[in-house]
Symmetry: D2
Subunit: 309 residues, 4 copies
């Protein structure tokens, strides 16, 4: 693999941050979680973390933001470590072709969510990890995992965001109740949803998130938190389902596995090379960060990091 | 990139062919095209073609088979060359979450197929290339493209298979008529479907197909039939949608972009490294070659060719 | 049953016609069949035919119009006479909950249309009557049936309308091809659709249509073309499915079994009392005659003819 | 209207009860509410109540059973009395074409249930009546209404059944949460669902239920609890949607408006003539009482009470 010169990379990041800070059309900040609706859409940050931990940043890369659905990746890694392939009895591995919070698919497939990254699937994963434990224990495990991955203890859950999301969680509760009706939930709905909304409220900066994603590069020097085979599978799932029903578009444009969150963050992995985090709060019509998606596309074009050749 | 030793690769292929020839559960040969139902399910072939054209094979790699939906990849390359991004007004780029011949999705999205690899999408692509020309001209162009890609002129259309498929094409005609009703068809349904069934009836051996796929590796030495950027995009589409509603499973297990056909063939691309073709007529419940899928998974495990790290 | 005085009834009809002729919002004439798009939306006719044939009219009740889907009622009567309950292997008896030309439902239920009045179901009924005969024979039988029911030989098929509909029949052909793919079509698609578009092009005036519907009143004196039990069943189907996904609304407002057509006609039956025909070309958002629906609602309110008490 | 002789009617009921008591295939008792699963499937009761209150019975017509969804009719009458046509902003009037507890439709139509008799619709109706009041007040009003209609104060809610249903109410809670997410719920989900499960747990015997239904006959002598126009509309809704996705079948076979419950009861109305109640706990594949449906069909055949002529 031809190494990308760090000086060049730094220049590329500066160039991207510069272009993005001036972008007129920045998408729309998610409003359904009131706490998130307050975030200033003018912000943009980007960070690239190399396997050895060297982390290059530009823009607002030190500002913590709500990772939201990106937390699903870390909880999935924990669930696979705990349950192994047993997890796949409760959730599928196919893209959904529908919106991230669709109930329709869940009905068609009898309570088995299509993949671990649609909301229903992530709730099932959290429920599988919860398995009779206390929410605080599971959330503690998640924080330990993320902090170890990022080699940074200053990563926390924003309780105001969690409370705000809890108050508007009707649709996620509906998904959980529906799974309960179909026998695909093990804990009380309130416990599982309570855990889930707190997990989504983890906050990281781009720099922290990029560092936390290094274990997914499978590169020598990166933290090895799960087996190499499992890393490949998580990456495959991110590629196929990481951007809801905009996953095809992200694969087509960026060519990397990645996971987005409605807080405006995206984690993308260049296998063997780097972990990338971007953040810009405005979303496109599929619910993915508008400038974030464009930034990763630009980065990949300039670095040649696409997995597709 | 660490090169895989050719001797080792040859051994791997032999081992795979040996294991597959003995597999007791070989899936089910597609019966809806009578000509294809006659094919002996005991066959298995595999070929790996390196960018320079060196092609290693094992098993029944010299037996021609009906490529069926794999032809969609080549027609897509032609369509993109002809229309560029205009093509995307007529077909989407997202996985469908539904069966390959589903009409349901088409209704939900007003006649715009979800991607170029579901049947409706491929019919729209063929229709876009046809654009007032004669079917024989379009089929001639397809054959020229494939022969050039494979550097082999001995590639033909099996007219008995085309006739057999034409006779049972009700569902594909329904898709085309539905698109016509929604204003997303430019030619007479009979012309477009006639072209489509002939395109699906192209026959290649594994060796020929593997060679024909080299242009998608974007590797130095491989034929350059489309731009590097377009290659990446075609690979992305194959990754996301190449195995119908089993695309997630193939990505999860094999970790390569690929396209399957109901004739039992699969073309998979290891970007920068090799083009791979397998063939075994028995299909799994998603309509993809059962042993073919397993063979590519085994090959990737032994070579480390997954794009996911 | 308290008889409605004929003088009073005549007054009611005049009043309705007067009110409707002045209605400012008349709905939208269907445009997808070019011949029908030419019809002047200012027209309105109404006719009530008593079992003994006495027919009271008001407005444009002598102007022939295209009965379109109303023909499905007569073809269903013929099909039941020919096949009896065998017909129900090919078509269901439940309201669809979807638009009249939806393919979605057809896919969900494996090619068995939900009822004989959605397009797919009517095509299956026509196909069942066709059963190897010539289209002209089936159309001849339909005309004989309708003429006998109306006791009027001056009822014909408008060939220009049939040709116009044939030219834009893509969606109906799609439905037929889809049923063929699922094994629920016995004749060549072109023959069945050719018969179907001609059947829809039958023309009658309100007076003729009201007279033709008397056999569905099951009243002494009315022509007895099918058994009393079968009349009740046809009426039940009209009540449940006669106005596409506006059937509930029509039952709620009018309280009579009825069948509408996109030509703007409605046939409604007051069992034991009268057969009612209205016509006004403008349609509401569900594809049913806007003023026609209102007129029948008004008539039922003034006569107390609702079947619901 | 020819009156049916009471002696003859009594004979008919005896004959039906006799035939039904010997029926070998009695359907399947609903198991999802544990309390209901305990009911002995060998039971069968029937009662016909004439407008003046004369009530003829046969079989187990004095045994109280859980009316379940039949309660929706009474709550709808209360809701229409309270809100009038405002109610229709929150629930539609069309048959659903889907199972009684389907979420799919709810998603397609943005949280507006298709009609007041699918579960989601009934929950919306209960929520509309609740409107900030206490559940016990609403349940008190329901009991007063039913007791007045039946002229019988010995009608109660079975709290064990309510508790049993509450414990397995996941799917109904999912429907309520989904409506809450779409802004179509006014009270806390727990309050609305708590009211709903208690409303479903009202118990009546066939004799009581038949008497309670007389107000829907619109016949002189029957209690007049709602206006005549509203009675017709409630009957229309029962006809179109009263038997879930078996409504078409019931209309086709029985020809009367009716409402079934998973406790095995059915209330059917012969407008102007009689109110009919049957009960047999075993259900058919659509969730309606198997013998109950057959009994009403037989009764209508022998009395000529079909509304369809």
């Amino acid at each position: 693999m031809e190494a990308v010169n760090q000086t060049l990379l730094r220049e590329i990041l500066e160039q991207i941050a510069h272009e993005m800070s001036a972008a007129p059309d920045r998408g729309t900040v998610a409003t359904y979680i009131p706490e998130l609706a307050k975030v200033d859409p003018a912000q943009f940050g980007i960070a690239v973390s190399l396997p050895d931990g060297t982390t290059l940043t530009a823009g607002d890369a030190a500002t913590p933001f709500s990772v939201q659905s990106i937390s699903k990746v870390f909880m999935l890694a924990i669930a696979l470590g705990r349950l192994g392939d047993q997890l796949w009895h409760r959730v599928g591995r196919e893209p959904s072709g529908l919106a991230f919070n669709s109930i329709l698919q869940l009905e068609r497939e009898k309570g088995i969510p299509r993949n671990p990254f649609v909301n229903a699937g992530a709730i099932a994963v959290t429920d599988a990890v919860l398995a009779g434990h206390q929410p605080r224990d599971v959330l503690g495990e998640l924080l330990r995992f993320v902090r170890m991955a990022a080699e940074d203890d200053d990563i926390h859950i924003n309780k105001a965001v969690a409370a705000s999301e809890q108050a508007t969680a009707h649709r996620n509760i509906a998904l959980a109740e529906f799974m309960a009706a179909e026998g695909n939930l093990r804990n009380a709905v309130a416990l599982t949803i309570g855990t889930y909304v707190h997990q989504c409220a983890v906050e990281m900066s781009c720099a922290q998130l990029a560092r936390a994603g290094r274990f997914l590069t499978n590169a020598p020097g990166a933290p090895r938190l799960v087996s190499a085979a499992r890393v490949r599978r998580i990456n495959a799932l991110m590629m196929m389902c990481g951007h809801y029903d905009g996953s095809g578009e992200f694969a087509y444009r960026a060519g990397l596995p990645g996971k987005s969150g409605v807080g405006g963050g995206i984690l993308a992995i260049a296998p063997g090379r780097a972990s990338i985090a971007v953040w810009s709060p405005g979303l496109n019509e599929r619910g993915n960060s508008k400038l974030g998606s464009a930034a990763i596309e630009m980065l990949v074009r300039k670095t040649g990091w696409s997995v597709f050749g």
